[in-house]
């Protein structure tokens, strides 16, 4: 009896331990395999850094004409500009909603806005893409200009998609502040708006920024919704109404149509590696902000 319990004890421990170990192994495997495939452009195709970090894209240019050009800068620029603009649109609105839920009307916030935010977060990304494609793109084409497939459409779709992330992180950050902070400000004769602007928002800054970075990371990694509305033209856009391409949409467009091991295909893996490295950068930023926030 005692023996059986000891054995079960050991079994239980090792079972849960190995499942936790799987999380580490998976992460390592992803880093190793993506690194291996992503660096093939250098190890196997001997592509130079100046070639890959350029804006020239002609992956099947014949050797006689100077060889293939696989500049990924256009894709990186597309990802950076769409997600940055999306955050710039979304963050103010997200913080406004957060202040509303935490400070202005907690009752309405709890009963009404919380479920609304959760519902927005729950709508699958392809549905955002579908609505962007069937409502936003024609609207831009008919009322603003261009073909509709544009940076503007991508920004709008992404802004709505990351709104829940920013709003809920900011709400948590504001709710976590000690109530005495606001009371002190109010006791000094500040109006509610003054208290929010000068005390609450600055104190919750780290948490709010964390939400913004998380939103940025989501926008950066989002693939299908963006791909459906931005037009996917491999050029740097000149205006907000021009089509463009991002890292994720580039991968989505070409991965199925290129031959495994070809330079074109391996360039896509390199783009995936960039996405992976960037998500590490975002984790690093969030950890940094988390440590800063803990000081308060």
């Amino acid at each position: 009896m005692v023996n059986r319990n000891v054995r079960r004890e050991f079994l239980g421990y090792s079972l849960t331990f190995s499942c936790a170990l799987i999380a580490i192994l998976l992460t390592l495997a992803i880093i190793l395999f993506l690194g291996w495939k992503g660096l093939a452009v250098f190890t196997q195709h001997k592509i130079s850094l100046t070639n890959i970090f350029s804006v020239h894209w002609w992956p099947d240019r014949p050797a006689g004409a100077g060889g293939p050009q696989v500049g990924v800068l256009t894709f990186i620029f597309g990802s950076v500009i769409t997600s940055t603009l999306a955050v710039l649109v979304s963050a103010p609105l997200g913080v406004t909603v957060a202040v509303f839920m935490a400070e202005i009307s907690p009752r309405l916030g709890q009963r009404f806005l919380q479920p609304v935010i959760e519902l927005l977060a729950g709508i699958p990304s392809v549905v955002y893409g579908y609505i962007g494609l069937s409502v936003l793109v024609p609207f831009i084409r008919n009322n603003i200009g261009g073909t509709g497939f544009s940076l503007l459409a991508g920004v709008m779709v992404l802004a709505v998609m990351i709104l829940p992330t920013i709003a809920s992180m900011a709400t948590d950050a504001i709710r976590a502040l000690p109530g005495t902070l606001k009371e002190a400000a109010l006791a000094l004769g500040a109006t509610r708006w003054q208290a929010i602007r000068t005390v609450i928002l600055p104190s919750a800054r780290a948490g709010i920024l964390m939400g913004v970075v998380l939103g940025l990371a989501r926008a950066f990694g989002e693939a299908l919704a963006v791909q459906m509305v931005i037009g996917n033209r491999r050029e740097i856009p000149h205006s907000i109404l021009d089509p463009l391409i991002t890292l994720t949409s580039g991968i989505t467009m070409d991965m199925g149509n290129t031959v495994q091991g070809s330079l074109w295909n391996d360039t896509l893996w390199f783009m995936a590696l960039i996405l992976l490295v960037l998500s590490f950068f975002f984790i690093f930023l969030i950890r940094l902000l988390g440590r800063k926030g803990a000081v308060h």
Partner: protein, 294 residues
Amino acid sequence: MKAQVKDKLATAGFYLGAGLVVLILFSLLGYIIVHGYRAIDLQFLLSEPETLRAGGGIGPNIFNSFYLLFLSMALTAPLGVLAGIYLAEYARQNQFTNLIRLSIETLTSLPSIVVGLFGLLIFVTMFGFGYSLVAGALALTVINLPMMVRVTEENLRTVPRDLREASLSLGATKWQTICRVVLPTALPGLITGIIITAGRVFGEAAALLFTAGMTTPHLNFSQLDITQPTCPWNPFRPGETLAVHIWKINSEALIPDVRRVADGSAAVLVLVVLGFNLFARWVARRFTCRLTGG
């Protein structure tokens, strides 16, 4: 006086912002439901998609989505719960635990298309599964594992210490305490978490493009030989889910009635995801009542 005016203006601004978000949601949902209502009928829900002609449905896609969801949750739920138990009950404050947490954080923030590519490389190509439901389920497991672990850990941590101590003081071993006391107490939260995770699986598409594939063979529901490609239950056949179907028809379809199929598919997808959320809430409330009221 000026400060008071500013305060009023700011308050109005906050109401406006909140109102705008509510408006966005209701116009999104309104659009989906109204357009979906026109497109959905029984024939649409049951028949197979067409590639060139009008009149196709989404029957196999709905089936694939649910079957894939089942396959992936059958993997994710045990793995995630066990890893969560480790973190909540056994893990000490050391480098190894830090490494687990860092890994989980990394997995959480991976773009789903990157997971899809990893799945293409490992499950589809190296393991030789090809574009298949199994490869899709494994990719989805990579995506959902971190969430399952976190949900489990959080729920186990809400179980009062007294319960564990009472059980241990009665002579139960740690594992017995976990299985007979901690897990049953945390069960409502765990089930809720599993349902919510499942809802997210349903809408996932980017990771499935290159793992479960973008095609479905003709399914024959009277075919029970699981090794046959026409058998719906064969996990090694490719399967296009509803979410992937929505992406595909919107970006490259040749059928003349794209709008109708897209409208109907989006509505079904959103309604199912909403259904999962409501179901999770219902389960949570029901179980809580029984545990506290019984």
